[in-house]
């Protein structure tokens, strides 16, 4: 029997953990360093014991639109997103254990694993994009310089290190000045654009004594369905310690 799981609009929250760092090879920017730096500003800061933020997701498809809100808790490779609104979905949770996704909701006795096929669809696909861990999962090469949304950027071609990451290839633009990922194009195996994400950084995150720019919005568009657009707004990001047990799948349904 086929099982369909409607995954709440929220997966766009999880960010890499790769440690931040800056580096330039004598010949130019070091791609790995660029990726680590850009990941930090999307939630992959080497944050100690955890981070939290609120996430507002608005999906527009032509004249129709829907909205949902989540709280997101991150620790290391793991993240937990819980639906705050709409009321009918309140309490639904999505757990990211590394690359494995689990879904749970009130009344469900055991969490359900979200299959790769289900990650194709709408919100799960958006979550996959928002939680991409560029530094950990991809090898990069700086192939040029371009201006994206008025921001002078390095253009990188990324190739997946392992074959089990969702996208095999990504085009990624990282701003020259702040080393922030401003645009990503997720490609098909044939190299054609499948989805695009534009990212802005109007938030700030303070980890210990250091404060750095933090993602404030991500706009995800389909290459074919241009009428469909998902906007993820990140609010009140903060360092916040979380117990490791919070991210244990066995505790998800409790």
């Amino acid at each position: 029997m086929r099982r369909t799981i409607v995954i709440p609009t929220c997966l766009g929250l999880l960010l890499s953990i790769a440690s931040a760092g800056r580096g330039l090879t004598p010949a130019g920017p070091d791609p790995a360093a660029l990726l680590r730096a850009s990941d930090r500003a999307r939630g992959a800061a080497a944050a100690s014991a955890g981070m939290s933020w609120s996430l507002n997701v608005v999906t527009k498809d032509g004249d129709e639109s829907s909205e949902a809100a989540y709280t997101v808790k991150v620790r290391g490779d793991d993240a937990l997103a819980e639906v705050v609104s709409p009321a009918r979905q309140r309490g639904e949770k999505i757990l990211f254990n590394d690359r494995t996704l689990w879904f749970s909701k009130p009344g469900l006795r055991k969490p359900v694993s979200i299959s790769p096929r289900q990650k194709l669809m709408g919100d799960a696909a958006n979550g996959d994009i928002a939680s991409t861990r560029y530094a950990r999962d991809y090898d990069g090469e700086v192939v040029g310089e371009e201006t994206v949304n008025g921001v002078p950027s390095w253009r990188l071609e990324l190739k997946a290190r392992a074959r089990n990451v969702t996208y095999d290839r990504i085009r990624y633009w990282i701003s020259k000045r702040d080393r922030l990922g401003v645009r990503a194009e997720f490609l098909t195996l044939a190299g054609e654009a499948f989805k695009t994400a534009d990212i802005s950084y109007d938030n700030a995150m303070r980890i210990g004594a250091e404060t750095f720019p933090f993602v404030s919005a991500m706009v995800i568009r389909d290459s074919l369905n241009t009428r469909r657009e998902t906007v993820l707004r990140y609010q009140t990001p903060r360092e916040e310690p979380h117990a490791a047990s919070l991210f244990n799948v066995n505790n998800l349904a409790r």
């Binding site: 990650k119 194709l120 074959r163 089990n164 996208y167 095999d168 044939a190 499948f194 009428r227």
Partner: protein, 424 residues
């Protein structure tokens, strides 16, 4: 002596039937009605079986035998790649099919890759369940009747450039302009990566079932394998020159696969889940038919028994007379039973004429009807079924013979003097 007695009894029986035909009319009518009902219902079922086979084997490109990995039927949806045929397994099947192909016993072997994902035309999107298949082999398996399988646009083998077919329901949902409207198919590959391809829809097909039409996508096998980034396939559908050779094919294939230690199975199309709807429908109709047959047998049997009982009671003195001429009780029973048998045969002859005429008439009227999950009205046709007619005639005659034998037993054993004095 016994032969002469038999001839006399048969002669008497025939004479009685002709002389008392008015008394037997009700019985004849009951048997004719039962016979016609059974013959027509069976003719309808035979035609439906034919349509279903045609629809699955040729139109649906299932072939007569389906080769796949052991366990694929139960687990393919959850674990598609663990239950698909690897390249060495495909080579083994090709080697096995070689002699069957070379001597013409195999007409087509269609490689099929099942797939699912999301289809979008830029305005909306939907889930799809589709197949990649060898286009030319598909053409061979569909045969002349179904070579043109497009109800809108054109078939895949006539498409110029990379293209796909979509189900009638999907085409309606997207309000697709065919041929040529561009769609994007996105899937997760064998390695669980996202991949997508843009393909024009050459045409729309009707796979008979609404549920299938609402999700169906078909594209050339190579395009499907590129999309899923795999060399594997899900199954091979084999069309045999002689469908009756399927059991032998399956036996030989199973032995050959086991000999090479491969976990492969070959399944007759009707036992495969892809034909589950068809099989389920036919099984339900089969149950109805058997129930119906039971009712007809009971009604006809009771009617014959009732008429025979009346006839026997009215003819007790005749029984006494015959006994006084030297006929034994068993001869009397045989006489009444032969009368019943003759009535049965007569009624069945009339029944065959009516069933054939009515069946031909109904089939020629072009009546169609909607059926459950099917997307296309089914033509109401009654097949000519000589086998059924013969079996029904034999069955009905046997019933009439047996019923008359049973009810005449008691009277035929009366003492002769008592029989002669009997007043009804």
């Amino acid at each position: 002596m016994a032969r002469a007695r038999g001839i006399v009894i048969a002669h008497l029986a025939l004479r009685n039937v002709l002389r008392n035909w008015r008394h037997s009319l009700a019985t004849v009518v009951a048997i004719v009605a039962g016979f016609v009902a059974v013959a027509m219902f069976d003719g309808y079922l035979q035609d439906l079986r034919g349509q279903t086979s045609e629809s699955a084997i040729h139109r649906g490109m299932l072939g007569h035998v389906i080769i796949e990995k052991q366990g694929a039927r139960a687990h393919h949806f959850e674990e598609p790649w663990d239950y698909s045929l690897t390249v060495p397994e495909q080579r083994f099947v090709e080697r096995f099919l070689l002699p069957w192909k070379s001597d013409g016993r195999e007409r087509a072997a269609l490689r099929v890759l099942l797939m699912s994902g999301l289809i979008s035309n830029g305005r909306s999107s939907a889930l799809f369940l589709g197949i990649g298949y060898d286009v030319q082999e598909g053409l061979a398996i569909r045969g002349e009747n179904w070579a043109w399988d497009a109800i809108d646009g054109k078939p895949l083998h006539l498409a110029t450039g990379p293209a796909m077919m979509i189900g009638k329901g999907l085409a309606g949902r997207f309000e697709a302009r065919l041929p040529g409207e561009l769609f994007q198919l996105s899937v997760t590959t064998e390695k669980a990566q996202v991949n997508a391809v843009n393909l024009a829809a050459a045409g729309a097909v009707d796979l008979m079932t609404r549920e299938v039409n609402d999700t169906y996508v078909a594209l050339p096998l190579q395009a499907a394998q590129d999309l899923l980034d795999t060399q594997q396939i899900s199954r091979i559908c084999v069309l045999l020159a002689d469908p009756a050779a399927a059991p032998r094919f399956i036996r030989e294939f199973t032995a050959a696969a086991a000999g090479e230690g491969l976990l492969l199975t070959a399944t007759p199309w009707l036992d495969h889940p892809a034909a589950a709807t068809a099989k389920g429908g036919l099984e339900i109709l089969g149950v109805f038919r058997n129930l119906f047959l039971l009712v007809v047998v009971v009604v006809a049997g009771m009617s014959v028994a009732n008429t025979a009982m009346k006839s026997v009671n009215e003819r007790v003195r005749e029984i006494g007379t015959l006994r006084s001429y030297g006929f034994r009780a068993r001869d009397i029973q045989l006489l009444f039973s032969l009368e019943g048998l003759l009535l049965g045969l007569l009624a069945c002859g009339v029944g065959i004429a009516i069933a054939a005429g009515a069946g031909a008439l109904i089939s020629s009227l072009g009546i169609t009807y909607e059926a459950g999950v099917l997307s296309t009205p089914i033509p109401l046709r009654i097949a000519m079924a000589p086998g059924t007619w013969a079996a029904s005639a034999a069955g009905m005659s046997l019933i009439t013979f047996a019923a008359a034998w049973v009810v005449s037993g008691k009277r035929s054993r009366l003492v002769i003097a008592e029989s002669l004095r009997y007043v009804a």
